[in-house]
């Protein structure tokens, strides 16, 4: 039996362990700001107007392709704005958001038409549509629409439930499993029902003993196994998880679905249970509040769209200027201020006391980074080429296989923010590829236009030529006719005169 470990990676302690891992429900926020854009994919289209009254769970934005998920009102109240707001993203750019002011009632949409407990009687298609219309996206952080992922994984043999907790410090999955162990198991059963996999594996890091015990206690389904895997960072990365559990390597550039595996975060499964059995779309999630400026880390059940300020008011924060970081300490994003709202993929907020970051030095190619890289890249070489924008060479060194886990940046003795460079190189590559496509397209269209104009000109010339010729021929013909007529006339006249003269004679 494999011990579920993998090459590279880092053993990292939870920097701010909590005494109790409880799930705390916080009161309804007064206003929510719901972004139409998830971290990846397209924008949903708002289908409400400013001034509309909406109920909790009501659809406020629809989708017209499968690269995004619909958005639902997370509180009942009035739509007060549909405008661009700054997103919790490294770019600090704005994206379209719907703002709802609460009426304090939390009045729900009618949610009686559920598949209920007897989802076995629902066809997989019905359940799939339920998931699709419930706005569920990957809750682990990527925010990829779950229905699309399930669709891709059609005919898969194994369902892997990622309950590893992506990064040290984040506890939201642990809290969720301890609060709703049955929901997790039922969620797995629902998904097994529709994706057609024979078995499901729930992978939990071995430091979450309570969760493992609870799930094992409540799991009565022999198709579901619960595996404890070593607590080692990046074990939760999809590629790594599939490899360490099943020994299958997802091909470069491919997805888990390519090897017949469907990976879902445990939070996503609870959302699926809520949607399918209780007919409640995705309107809340668990967020871990932790960091060096937090006295006791907490896991809060929060309505989507609640502001950071509102959520942080439920944690004991030490006074003073603090640094805010969204998501984990390894892969998260440093944010300016707290003017953001909780979105479907906000799993954690770090509030840290400001520390001076050591300044980066030159890379000395020591190679510490390639010993920790879980996908066995050469980060030092990638850095060298990314820094000089030599994208072609960086691609040669497999830039696109980088999972941006941050292990290399973490161990770098020169404190180089390596992953930032890879993100830059990847974005640049994307931009250059798109520009290349566009210029090639423009060149082709320009050349075709030139060709077309030239062809038109030629065609016109030919047409003119033909017309001229026809005219000439006609004129020639006319002339010949005239001559013939004249000749005939002549003959007639001649005959006439002959006759006349004969007559006269």
């Amino acid at each position: 039996m494999s011990n579920f470990t993998f090459k590279g990676g880092l053993v990292l302690e939870n920097p701010f362990p909590a005494k109790e891992i409880d799930l705390i429900r916080i009161p309804l926020p007064d206003r929510v700001v719901l972004p139409m854009q998830q971290r990846i994919g397209d924008q949903a289209k708002p289908c409400v107007s400013v001034g509309d009254h909406v109920l909790t769970g009501q659809v406020i934005a629809t989708i017209d392709d499968d690269r995004c998920a619909p958005v639902h009102a997370s509180i009942s109240g009035t739509v007060v704005a549909i405008d661009n707001q700054v997103m919790a993203h490294q770019s600090g750019l704005e994206a379209l958001c719907v703002t709802i002011e609460s009426d304090g009632e939390d009045e729900w949409m009618d949610n009686s038409v559920a598949c209920t407990e007897n989802y076995d009687f629902c066809t997989p298609d019905t359940i799939y549509n339920k998931i699709r219309l419930s706005g569920i996206v990957g809750m682990g952080g990527a925010g990829f629409p779950t229905h699309t992922k399930v669709q891709f994984a059609e005919g898969c043999h194994t369902l892997i439930v990622n309950a590893t907790e992506c990064e040290p410090g984040i506890m939201c999955d642990d809290a969720l499993m301890q609060a709703y162990p049955t929901k997790v198991i039922r969620g797995v059963e629902v998904l097994l029902h529709i994706c057609g996999a024979e078995k499901a594996i729930i992978a939990i890091e071995d430091d979450k003993k309570e969760s493992i015990e609870l799930l094992r206690k409540f799991c009565k389904n022999e198709r579901i196994t619960i595996e404890a895997i070593p607590t080692k960072y990046t074990s939760g990365a999809e590629k790594i998880l599939v490899k360490s559990l099943l020994g299958i390597e997802i091909p470069s550039g491919g997805y888990a679905s390519d090897v017949g595996v469907l990976c879902q975060n445990v939070g996503t499964l609870v959302a699926i249970f809520d949607a399918v059995v209780e007919n409640r779309p995705l309107i809340s999630r668990v967020v871990t509040i932790t960091g060096s400026a937090i006295k006791e880390p907490k896991n809060l059940q929060v309505r989507l769209g609640a502001s950071y300020d509102y959520v942080l008011s439920f944690a004991d924060i030490e006074q003073g200027e603090n640094d805010i970081r969204m998501a984990g300490m390894m892969m998260g994003v440093d944010l300016e201020g707290t003017n953001y709202s909780i979105s479907k993929n906000t799993n954690c907020i770090f509030v840290n006391k400001p520390i001076e970051k050591p300044s980066a030095q030159e890379c000395i190619r020591c190679g510490m980074c390639n010993t920790v890289c879980p996908v066995e890249l050469l980060p030092q070489q990638l850095y060298w080429y990314s820094k000089s924008s030599n994208i072609e060479k960086a691609l040669d060194y497999n830039l696109l296989d980088c999972i941006e886990c941050g292990c290399c940046s973490h161990v770098c003795p020169s404190n180089i923010p390596l992953v930032d460079y890879y993100q830059f190189a990847k974005a640049l590559n994307k931009q250059q590829t798109k520009e290349k496509e566009q210029t090639d397209n423009a060149r082709e269209r320009f050349e075709f236009r030139e060709f077309r104009l030239e062809r038109n000109k030629q065609e016109r010339a030919e047409m003119m030529e033909a017309k001229k010729k026809a005219l000439k021929e006609k004129m020639a013909k006319d002339k010949a006719q005239k001559i013939a007529i004249a000749a005939a006339q002549e003959r007639v006249n001649a005959a006439k005169t002959a006759k006349e003269s004969e007559d006269a004679r």
């Binding site: 390639n370 161990v411 003795p413």
Partner: protein
Amino acid sequence: MQDKAMDTNQVMRQVIYALALGVAAQVYFFGFSVLVQIALAVITALAAEALVLRMRGMQIAPSLRDGSAVLTAVLLAIAIPSIAPWWIIVLGVLFAIVFGKQLFGGLGNNPFNPAMLGYAFLLISYPLQMTQWPSEFQGALAIFEFSGVDALTGATNLDYVKTQLMLGESIGALTFESISQMWINFGFLLGGIYLLLRRIVFWHIPLSLIAGLALMSSILYLIDPANFSSPVFHLINGATMLAAFFIATDPVSASTTPLGRLIYGFAIGAIIIVIRVFGGYPDAVAFAVLLMNITVPLIDYYTQPKVFGK
């Protein structure tokens, strides 16, 4: 694995500390002039680095603090004969820092090992001064004396063997004392083991270098023991251990893939023997390292580890 152990400055400092044993052995056998050489080299290196950084309009203090210039200086100082005149080391360090390092863009950008570039420059330009090693303990200020130095000097074992072989003697007939060389190499070996244990250098390069050197010399020795020295002789003479643990392992100019490091180290070991035995110079570390430095981009490119999923 583990958390971040140390930053670049600490790494450089640890390497310098690890040189201490070998340097102590040198001092014991050759005298305090070794320390004077080191002091001169360090001062020159820092001054040269500061000057070039200033000309390049860059911050001076952080670069001086990273210890890389000091390390280059120390390596070069212990590689040259302890009684070489003072201007030898000054010129060598200047060349190493200015041409070997800063002109390529400073730390991290130099394709060649700066200390070895400086050494090669000196060896080619001043062969006489670069091959005269003291035969006995020297006073601290010997390098500033301009007269009478050669009366005190002798050739190294490597040089001696080479000369005698050319004169038609066979190895068996030669007697030579290698106590000093052996102890100096032993000192550097211990320092190298310390670096391995602290995980500052990876095992690949030292091990493969020693393997390459031993294998090459063994083959030659087995072919003709009368004309070729034994592997043991090569291991404990010259700059073998210094090269294996401190010079070839300079990460900036070495190969950076695991397999590449093995190839790189092995080739350096083999080339050292080839130059020592068939070449015109007594020791060969500098040329072997520089030759392999050139091939590093190629080695790195073709020895990329198998990427996940490929």
